[in-house]
């Protein structure tokens, strides 16, 4: 396929890999922030091409995985209401809440529908004026403009039967939280290319300054990731810490200005709880006061819900890069994609699911050796 096969070329991949081998002299821990990158790394076996000294740590960049349990529970409660049409991206449907998931709510008669764009949910609201239509707005800065546009359009159309359960999160505060943690082992970041198509990469300069950590904006195809790793290792080996843009074919320094304007108009920056990580200051987007009427949690009186996470699941340690999925005692035994204990096993972008789908036999062997 054009514009994709070029970035999956085995020979070029080997060239990048050889160069990384050639320049690597020490052990380096590099975190890929985005779940899409984790998925590509495991699917294509990119880490197998790297020298043993390069350790890729799978970061908290899967929006499904970091949506806190209490928000999932709110979604389940809203979706079960008879007057509600609950709309969501597909991979949120299997995420377990405290007791059930959206697929089970649907099976019991809840009107739960998969949409491909938040704007589809607005259309559904227009077509069903007697029903309450709720969209589950999750994701990083990548999906935030579309969510913002849906709220904006609903306001323009004066739809009062449309609302959103929002759990949008932001990447730079998460990197900051990781770097400021005393346990932090990460020495460099591959920043999520798609987030940067929207936001640009100005936000990373202060982080690079403050923590002396290389940040390389990286794409999602195998050659992108290998190139990103190469740029990162070059910086690490030469003692530099800079912002670099590997994904220049899609990302500019300033990003997508109209999209950012819309986000600023519709949302405000709020503290946000991350599943497995805890609350991070100023790390989420909530509706701006002018659009507060579209807040589903408030509309359905669920805003004050708090839920503890199950102790067995070590998704938090995995999202922070402190453990690998196969180091979890529940991995592949009590916790599988069919019966996930935590969200990292649910989404195809989740680190545990990626390991389970592509690696569990290796992982089992490694665990035995240990």
């Amino acid at each position: 396929m054009k514009f994709m096969d070029e970035y999956r070329d085995a020979e070029l991949a080997q060239k990048f890999a050889r160069e990384i081998h050639r320049i690597t002299t020490r052990h380096w821990k590099i975190m890929e922030v985005c779940g899409g990158q984790t998925h590509a790394i495991v699917k294509f076996g990119i880490d197998e091409l790297l020298p043993k000294q390069i350790e890729l740590i799978h970061g908290p960049g899967c929006p499904v995985c970091v949506t806190p349990l209490e928000v999932i529970d709110q979604a389940l409660e809203i979706a079960a209401r008879p007057e509600v049409i609950f709309t969501s991206f597909g991979d949120m449907l299997r995420v377990p809440g405290s007791t059930t998931d959206l697929l089970s709510v649907k099976a019991k008669g809840g009107d739960v529908r998969i949409v491909y764009s938040p704007l589809d949910a607005v259309k559904i609201a227009e077509l069903n004026p007697a029903r309450e239509v709720v969209f589950f707005g999750v994701g990083f800065e990548t999906t935030a403009p579309a969510t913002a546009m849906a709220v904006y359009q609903a306001a323009q159309k004066k739809l009062n039967n449309f609302s959103m359960l929002i759990s949008h999160v932001l990447v730079p505060p998460a990197i900051e939280a990781l770097m400021s943690s005393p346990n932090c082992q990460v020495q460099a970041f591959l920043a999520a290319g798609h987030v940067c198509t929207v936001m640009g990469y100005e936000e990373y300069f202060p982080l690079v300054e403050k923590y002396r950590v290389p940040i390389v904006v990286t794409g999602f195809e195998p050659l992108d990731i290998l190139h990103g790793v190469l740029l990162t290792v070059q910086q690490l080996e030469s003692g530099r810490a800079e912002v670099e843009n590997q994904y220049a074919r899609a990302v500019t320094r300033a990003g997508n200005q109209p999209a950012q304007d819309l986000i600023k108009k519709v949302f405000k920056v709020v503290p946000r709880k991350w599943r497995g990580v805890g609350e991070i200051a100023q790390s989420g987007l909530g509706l701006a006061d002018a659009f507060a009427a579209f807040d589903a949690a408030k509309k359905f009186g669920l805003a004050d819900r708090h839920v503890d996470e199950p102790a067995e699941c070590m998704a938090g340690l995995i999202l922070q890069g402190l453990k690998k999925p196969h180091e979890c005692p529940a991995f592949g035994r009590k916790c599988t994609p069919e019966h996930p204990l935590g969200a990292t096993m649910v989404s195809s972008e989740g680190a545990c699911a990626a390991y389970y789908r592509y690696r569990r036999h290796d992982a089992a062997e490694k665990a035995v050796v240990k």
């Binding site: 076996g45 991206f89 491909y116 994701g139 789908r357």
Partner: protein, 350 residues
């Protein structure tokens, strides 16, 4: 959709009954007219025409194969087929997977009250034409009408009977280390065609379902005395599920290569966009064949000579008798597990 053979003239005057009523399943004159004017007229053959409670026929000598499947596809009409053609192809293909020559079908219709009579007639005409092309006769059937809201327009069940004229044992237990693994064509088109229509996804060109009968291709292999160890049609769960099921049943390790597996470019693009894997997506006219290495080249040549399997390809081989495992060599040359999909395919966020 094949419209050339489709006769728009519904035999039940539309002005009189434009929609199916509960009474069409009630056992009275309306039901009688529906059976006679729609099903009886379209499917007419000497066995069905006796109008007996059960079909009677003499079977040729040999082993028999029997299979059943229910069809609930939505939308009823989609690019490349419809629920009727699929109900014939699917059951014919299940018979073909044991190397049987398909002979007779039964079909059961569950119709939701209010279904346009025109729609029913189109589906029935499609089944008539498809059965004719496949060389099978619909010899018995049943119709039920359910209340509005208790069905999704139309459900069809078909049961098929075929005769096995060969002496081979086609089953996972016959699979041997060293067997070549062939697929009969490009993968993922049916599932993506349905998803594109159902979800209103627009691509540059329409993705057409691969729904088609594959028995001719299989019978050609058997006629040429190609040794066949196992066959499996690649419906729900796609290639990944079929290979995992066979690896499990045979107790074998199987290895396939990504770059050898044919996938149409637009299917590939649609899957990339939605975060799906073409190897997990459903097909309706594709199968995988396990063939001993000695017959591999001949099998490929024969398959490529039949329209439905013109793009057949060798995709990998059975490695050894071992703990069941399917591996896929990525484009980068690194092997990883090819797993069964977990439940329904859910498009991802971004």
């Amino acid at each position: 959709m094949n419209t050339s053979n489709f006769s728009a003239a519904c035999p039940i005057p539309i002005s009189q009954y434009p929609h199916v009523l509960m009474a069409h399943g009630g056992g009275g004159t309306l039901m009688h007219r529906l059976l006679e004017d729609v099903f009886g007229k379209a499917f007419s053959n000497p066995i069905l025409d006796t109008r007996h409670d059960s079909a009677q026929f003499t079977v040729p000598p040999g082993r028999l194969a029997m299979t059943t499947d229910s069809y609930v596809v939505r939308p009823i009409f989609f690019p490349g087929g419809d629920i009727g053609s699929m109900a014939i192809h699917g059951t014919v293909n299940d018979l073909a997977m044991s190397g049987a020559r398909p002979l007779y079908l039964s079909c059961g219709f569950i119709i939701e009250e209010g279904l346009p009579m025109e729609t029913l007639w189109r589906v029935v005409c499609s089944m008539r034409d498809t059965a004719k092309k496949c060389g099978v006769q619909i010899v018995t059937g049943d119709t039920k009408v359910v209340d509005k809201g208790k069905g999704d327009g139309l459900f069809i069940n078909t049961t098929g009977l075929g005769v096995i004229e060969h002496a081979q044992t086609i089953s996972p237990q016959s699979v041997q280390p060293g067997d070549a693994i062939l697929v009969s064509g490009d993968l993922g088109r049916h599932g993506m065609a349905i998803m594109a229509v159902r979800e209103g996804l627009e691509f540059e060109s329409t993705i057409e379902s691969d729904s088609a009968p594959v028995h001719e291709a299989v019978l050609k292999l058997l006629e040429a005395d190609v040794e066949i160890h196992c066959l499996r049609d690649l419906t729900r769960g796609g290639l990944a599920s079929a290979l995992n099921e066979i690896a499990e049943a045979a107790g074998m390790k199987i290895a396939v290569e990504q770059k050898l597996i044919p996938v149409q470019e637009q299917v590939h693009a649609a899957c990339e966009m939605l975060g799906l894997d073409p190897l997990h997506v459903a097909n309706e006219g594709r199968f995988v064949a396990f063939i001993p290495a000695k017959d591999e080249a001949r099998a490929l040549q024969i398959l490529r000579g039949v329209g439905v399997s013109a793009h057949a390809a060798l995709i990998g081989k059975v490695v050894e008798k071992a703990a069941p495992l399917v591996t896929l060599k990525s484009e980068l040359g690194v092997s990883r597990i090819l797993d069964m999909p977990s439940g329904e395919q859910l498009p991802r966020i971004c």
